[in-house]
């Protein structure tokens, strides 16, 4: 009986771990673009994701009462604006004229993006202190139900529709961006600009425009993933989540291979599964996190480029 119970627990944690993992992959994908492709170590990534989460909350609860299912569209628009501000405030002076992204530039970008993260944190804290939003927000009163049910039952496991929607659209987000990078000329320019931006200029494209575009797309991805994560979580949305999202994103990006969007999804799956299964076996989330980092260490020793790294 005990064995049956634990196997049921294993099945349910595997299923929910898969969904969680895909969500994590989507959350990390914006980072793999700006860091892996353009060599900007974006320490504000976690805060950008939180901005996306709050976009979903604010437009649902405080302005216009927009359904969270439409929040990715809002996150797209706001992400574009934040991306432009991000590029010109924190990146342009460092990378605008750079021909190739050297380690020195990578390290400078680390400092300036850290600063931009602090700025977002300051704005959110200010809004909380003024009582404009709560310190612990949620999409209260909103849920997804089909035929009166809020979950899908698979092998005796309840998978909530909100989680399936958040993770599912997250996968769509990653795949669409991958197609954009592979199939459009701007995708090619983005991949070329990090390797030699002077050659991009000699091929007829303004390198500054390409770098700005990369920053905007990465920011949009972070905000959309954030809006989807708000749908996924429904409650407990706070700026404090940054301290989970950022380190997990860095782990997943390195695990999947810098610059590989598909790698990010696979990396997310591995971390999500390990996290949930370890949690089911031990009951301690601290241990789960340690195991996730242990996997990262092993990958770094066995295959330093990451699973799909070039």
């Amino acid at each position: 009986m005990a064995v049956e119970l634990s196997s049921q627990l294993l099945v349910s944690n595997t299923l929910s771990g898969l969904v969680y993992g895909l969500m994590l992959g989507a959350l990390a994908s914006g980072l793999t673009l700006i860091w892996g492709v353009m060599k900007v170590v974006n320490l504000s990534h976690g805060y950008l994701v939180v901005t996306g989460m709050l976009t979903s909350v604010i437009f649902y609860k405080y302005i216009l009462n927009v359904s969270p299912t439409l929040s990715p569209a809002l996150a797209f628009v706001i992400g574009a604006l934040v991306g432009i501000a991000f590029y010109y405030s924190s990146l342009h002076l460092i990378i605008g004229k750079a021909e190739t992204m050297t380690l020195k530039i990578e390290m400078s970008s680390l400092m300036s993006t850290f600063g931009f993260g602090i700025l977002i944190l300051g704005i959110i804290t200010f809004a909380v202190n003024r009582g404009w939003i709560l310190s612990n927000e949620g999409l209260s009163g909103w849920t997804l139900s089909i035929h009166g049910k809020t979950y899908l039952e698979v092998a005796g496991t309840h998978l909530e529709y909100t989680k399936l929607l958040g993770a599912g659209l997250g996968v769509v987000l990653v795949l669409v961006t991958e197609l954009f990078l592979r199939k459009t000329v701007w995708g090619l320019a983005i991949r070329a600009v990090a390797e030699d931006s002077r050659a991009v200029a000699l091929t007829g494209y303004d390198p500054v425009k390409v770098k700005l575009l990369t920053t905007i797309i990465s920011t949009i991805m972070a905000l959309i993933a954030g809006a989807l994560y708000a749908i996924y979580l429904s409650s407990g949305i706070s700026v404090g989540l940054e301290s989970q999202i950022a380190p997990l994103s860095f782990v997943i990006v390195v695990l999947g291979g810098l610059g590989s969007l598909i790698g990010t999804l696979i990396g997310g799956l591995i971390i999500g599964l390990t996290y949930n299964i370890t949690l089911a076996l031990t009951g301690h989330s601290e241990i789960s996190l340690s195991v996730a980092f242990a996997i990262l260490l092993i990958i770094l020793i066995v295959r330093p480029k990451g699973l799909f790294g070039r």
């Binding site: 070329a192 050659a199 091929t203 007829g204």
Partner: protein, 241 residues
């Protein structure tokens, strides 16, 4: 009218890096449909001249006229889309992009967009090797193939004038001959105007119509290829005769 005869005119060009002046009033003209060679030893300022013409380095003084239009301070990506294309020294390819991706990026610019098929046919007929390797990453190509790709990328931009910076550098003698005859072909069969920067004076004088000799950031000698070949100073210093 002079603007009709010359594709590119450089007047009193002064330029350099930071505080260091490299060019001290360079004057040169490139006649339409000809190969003009800019020759000189290492450090004479040839590459700086090209980067300044292209706008990668903003000229300090002087004027640059392309097709009679003042383009002195036009940024490089705009000059490229006007039909002035530089094939830079050291190829400057993107190692992780495939051959095809290099050509596609160039082909999607406004000048080339409507002639992609035509340009691709041209490039693949000039360099059949690139067609075989079109799915291969540029970083995995040999030195000769990389130079072919750099030229092919330039041609995909549908240029009116091509500038080559040391295309023979680091190539085996057989390949140097191939590159030289390709450049001559571009003039003879496509009517392209070429400014060829080289240390390899011998190879350059084989294919060029007119030449300039540069020393210490100044033009010290100019003339038709025949005149240069007769000049005792050129014979001694550059041809080793």
């Amino acid at each position: 009218m002079a603007g009709q005869e010359y594709m590119l005119v450089v007047e009193d060009l002064e330029s350099g890096y930071g505080e260091t002046q490299v060019l001290f009033g360079v004057n040169l003209k490139v006649r339409k449909g000809e190969i003009t060679a800019l020759l000189g030893s290492n450090g004479a300022g040839k590459s700086t001249t090209l980067w300044s013409i292209m706008g990668v380095i903003d000229p300090w003084k002087g004027r640059i006229l392309f097709k009679g239009e003042d383009v002195t301070h036009v940024p490089p990506h705009k000059k490229t889309t006007m039909g002035l294309v530089l094939v830079p020294e050291g190829r400057r390819l993107w190692p992780n992009l495939t051959v095809e991706e290099h050509l596609t990026l160039a082909a999607k610019t406004p000048r080339s967009r409507n002639k992609v098929e035509e340009l691709l046919d041209l490039v693949y007929s000039l360099f059949p090797r690139l067609k075989e390797r079109r799915k291969q990453k540029a970083g995995t190509l040999s030195g000769g193939e990389q130079q072919m790709l750099a030229i092919a990328r330039g041609l995909m931009l549908n240029p009116e004038m091509l500038m080559f910076d040391e295309p023979s550098l680091g190539l085996a003698p057989k390949l140097v001959q191939d590159i030289a005859s390709t450049i001559a072909k571009l003039r003879d069969e496509l009517g392209l105007t070429v400014l060829l920067v080289e240390q390899n004076v011998h190879m350059s004088l084989q294919i060029a119509n007119y030449g300039y000799i540069m020393e210490n950031g100044r033009i010290v000698l100019e003339g038709t290829v025949e005149e240069l070949e007769e000049n005792p100073r050129v014979r001694e210093a550059y041809l080793g005769i």
